[in-house]
Symmetry: C2
Subunit: 104 residues, 2 copies
DNA sequence: TTTAAAGTTCGATAACTATCGAACTTTATG
DNA sequence: CATAAAGTTCGATAGTTATCGAACTTTAAA
């Protein structure tokens, strides 16, 4: 990953609330993942109603939370897909790996 | 490390030029470290004339570079100590470890 | 002691960011 | 169709950041 993109990723994680949001998504995805592995499935589907859940956890307006989701998506850290009224959210493993491998 | 401090570390790395600066320092420290290990010394002393070197690599004014050094120090990523006219710079391993372990 | 080199601090400016509430769109349901 | 739920977009505002050059301090050297 180029330095420019890596800086973008760091910028996305540089806001306290956004970092909290990401950790929220990330930890749930990790949980789902290990559950999926135990069930013999290769990979988790992502977490459901991510926005709704986030609204319950963060003390911010919906518009601000929407903004933070966009920022995480623009940085390539997560991917969101609509499912009816709510949306499904997945962590982008390559980006996470890029951050991890940044420091050897 | 608390989320607040972790966010500060990410903020320090969120500027493209500052990230470049950090990578510069970090990679040199890694080099010094492996050199020190081969020589049977436990740990490297850090890199000399870090500011001067940075001025040669980054196309920014000295005042801006000074500012970026301060930001990296405030985030706890590096430590600088004066040595006569120049200064010696070290990477703070705990902070780096915190970033690394952030994503398991 | 004068001069130079290495950084720092200050003040200004332009650009970006976080946040909100209000108004909107889209999807589902009675 | 009317209503509600789930998000999005917009415009405003207050705060933060990156950057520079000029003036400064501190350390070393002639």
């Amino acid at each position: 990953m180029k330095a420019t993109n890596l800086a973008k990723v760091f910028k996305a994680l540089s806001n306290e609330h956004r970092l909290e949001l990401f950790q929220l998504i990330y930890s749930q995805c990790q949980l789902e993942e290990s559950r999926a592995q135990k069930a013999g499935k290769g990979c988790c589907e992502g977490i459901e109603k991510a926005f709704t859940k986030a609204c319950g956890c963060l003390d911010l307006s919906r518009s601000t939370i929407s903004h933070h989701f966009k920022e995480l998506q623009n940085a390539g850290l997560i991917t969101c897909t609509r499912q009816g009224q709510t949306f499904m959210c997945q962590v982008n493993k390559e980006s996470v790996e890029a951050v991890r491998s940044f420091l050897n």
